[in-house]
Amino acid sequence: MEALVEAKQVKQHFTVKVKGRKLLLKAVDGVSLSIYKGETFGLVGESGCGKSTFGKALLRLYALTAGRVLFHSADISALKGAALKAFRREAQMIFQDPSSCLNPRRRIEDILTEPYAIHRRFTPVEQKRKAAELCDMVGLSKTHLSRYPHEMSGGQKQRVGIARALALNPQLIVCDEPLSALDVSIQAQVINLLEDLQREFSLTYLFISHNLCVVKHCCQRVGVMYLGRVVELAQADELYERPLHPYTRALISAIPSAEGRAGDGQRREILTGDVPSPLSPPPGCSFHTRCPAVTEICRREQPPFTEVSPAHFVGCHLYHS
């Protein structure tokens, strides 16, 4: 499989002021992974684990603190000016909250023609025709073009967000929790739309979500993040059937099942405590404060991230001896 994007030890740190003291927030702390061409790569984890920040860092919406991002094997982590602008055409983003991702003072037509205007593509008339095509592509009608965002439903706004991301024919789309603000019935429609578009335009998705069922349904490979690091990465089927990391096991056992028969399936593992603050992550394995299988070494040493079976990586001392 050919890698479209490769993240190599990507770190994204922010300085934040807490009660007047400057602290380092390690939102993403050394993430390495590859996303293959044409696949949907799922990234799951609790709120605040750094998955959104990682997605934005891949798109160079932040200046990386450390590490590199390769796109088609070319390093994009230091691009500037025209080269960065050219990269913007190849990689786009779909946002979580459809009501805040569209400028409330712009009509849908202005929102959809703007990508062309920024990159000086087409004449104004052609841009409008393109905007109408985009509407059609995502299942909106041309009458929506003259509307303002507040005149549309959440699902429709999310479709506009998708259309905007598609405008420049990108290869990679980072979907940052594209479903979490939508009703369940609309979620299904949007998933189907994303899958149709992926087939039609051979898109590659980085699908960021905390909804494990959705990720299982639409992703080929899945990475699990905890406190700024990837703790497990495998094929989706493998990960859901044979989760190795205690954190992944807990997440997967928490998925509610439709059958729900007593005694069916695995025992539910309930994690105690909260995610430690990323401002002061615990030493050693960052999960050791909540891990049911914690040992002495976990408190001291950070486990290496190793391939324990083909294409199944895990960062846990249990599998590294």
Partner: protein, 337 residues
């Protein structure tokens, strides 16, 4: 939208009648005697003169009857005659108000231009030294007492440096501009008298800076916080992801949305100024509505007090209406269907 505007204007008249009643009653409750305020000591000692004075101004009638007479005239558009000046109140207002309007407009221009500029810089360079400096300026703008700031400005820029002229609207020897609008800048442009124009402008600058400084502080803070709020929304991220340059992101996407609440602040600031700033007008010898209100209040000139109050109330109503209409234009979410 038209129906809405008409209804708002109709409501304005109801409000103004209420204001006139309140002002009339309150100014009559003041434990002071308009007779004593307007007649000399010798005239006061003659009961006949006092009786004639009271009869002439209707002061011998019960208060509610006085108000009823006033209201009847008011509905015909007659604001009565000022006890102090002996002129119709409407004519007095027409003479004093343009000076205040002209000064307020210039003060607002300064406040808006610098307020938005500083606010944007402050947000873009958040927590950097520039932001701290701007914060200092805007906080002092809001907190420095205007009478002290007026004196400071006059001392430095008129007395010490001599860059700007002293108090007054024009040089003492300059002829009053013809044109009749009462706005000297406008009048001198209309009559093509550019020497007079520069004279009028140079007299405007110091008081306009003093008055604009306060509102500028408010606008700066408001612009900064709104811009920071808008800058963290996803549509700003989307604009960046599309490859838009940072300057265009701020100007085209962020600023428009950030300035919506600033309109309210600026409008209220303008209303405040149009009410006449007594201290500043006094110190700069500016013949504006603030001075007129002050003189009317100290002589218990009831018709004039009512007239000024109605004018100020009408300013608020009209400017609020304009703000609401402007909101509809720039924010599609608040548009009336």
């Amino acid at each position: 939208m038209l129906r809405y505007t008409v209804r708002r204007i109709a409501l304005m008249f109801v409000l103004l009648i209420g204001v006139s009643l309140m002002v009339f009653l309150i100014s009559n409750l003041v434990p002071s005697d308009p007779v004593a305020a307007n007649l000399s000591q010798t005239a006061m000692s003659d009961p006949q003169v006092v009786a004639v004075f009271k009869e002439k101004w209707g002061l011998d009638k019960p208060i509610l009857q006085q108000y009823w007479i006033y209201l009847q005239h008011l509905l015909k558009g007659d604001l009565g005659v000022s006890i102090r000046t002996g002129q119709p109140v409407a004519a007095d207002l027409m003479r004093y108000f343009p000076a205040t309007v002209e000064l307020s407009v210039f003060a607002m221009l300064i406040a808006i231009v610098f307020g938005i500029l500083f606010g944007v810089l402050s947000a873009v360079f958040r927590d950097k030294p520039l932001d701290q400096v701007v914060r200092g300026i805007s906080v002092s703008g809001v907190s420095i007492p205007s009478f002290w700031f007026s004196l400071l400005m006059l001392y430095v820029f008129f007395y010490k440096l001599g860059w700007f002229p002293g108090p007054g609207r024009l040089n003492a020897r300059a002829p009053t501009p013809v044109g009749g609008t009462g706005f000297y800048v406008l009048d001198s442009i209309l009559s093509g008298n550019f020497a007079l124009l520069s004279d009028a402008l140079s007299h405007l600058i110091l008081p306009a800076v003093v008055l604009g400084f306060f509102t500028m502080g408010l606008i700066t803070r408001q612009t900064r916080s709104n811009l920071l709020e808008v800058a963290s929304t996803d549509y700003i991220r989307a604009a960046r992801a599309k490859g838009m340059s940072e300057t265009r992101v701020i100007v085209r996407h962020a600023l428009g949305n950030a300035l919506i609440p600033v309109i309210t602040v600026a409008g209220m600031g303008f209303c405040n100024l149009l009410g006449g700033m007594v201290f500043v007008e006094k110190i700069f010898a500016w013949p504006g509505i603030g001075q007129y209100a002050y003189l009317s209040a100290t002589t218990l000139d009831f018709p004039a007090i009512c007239g000024v109050s109605l004018l100020v109330a009408a300013n608020y109503v009209v400017i609020n209406l304009l703000i609401d209409i402007l909101y509809g234009i720039i924010d599609p979410r608040t548009r009336y269907q």
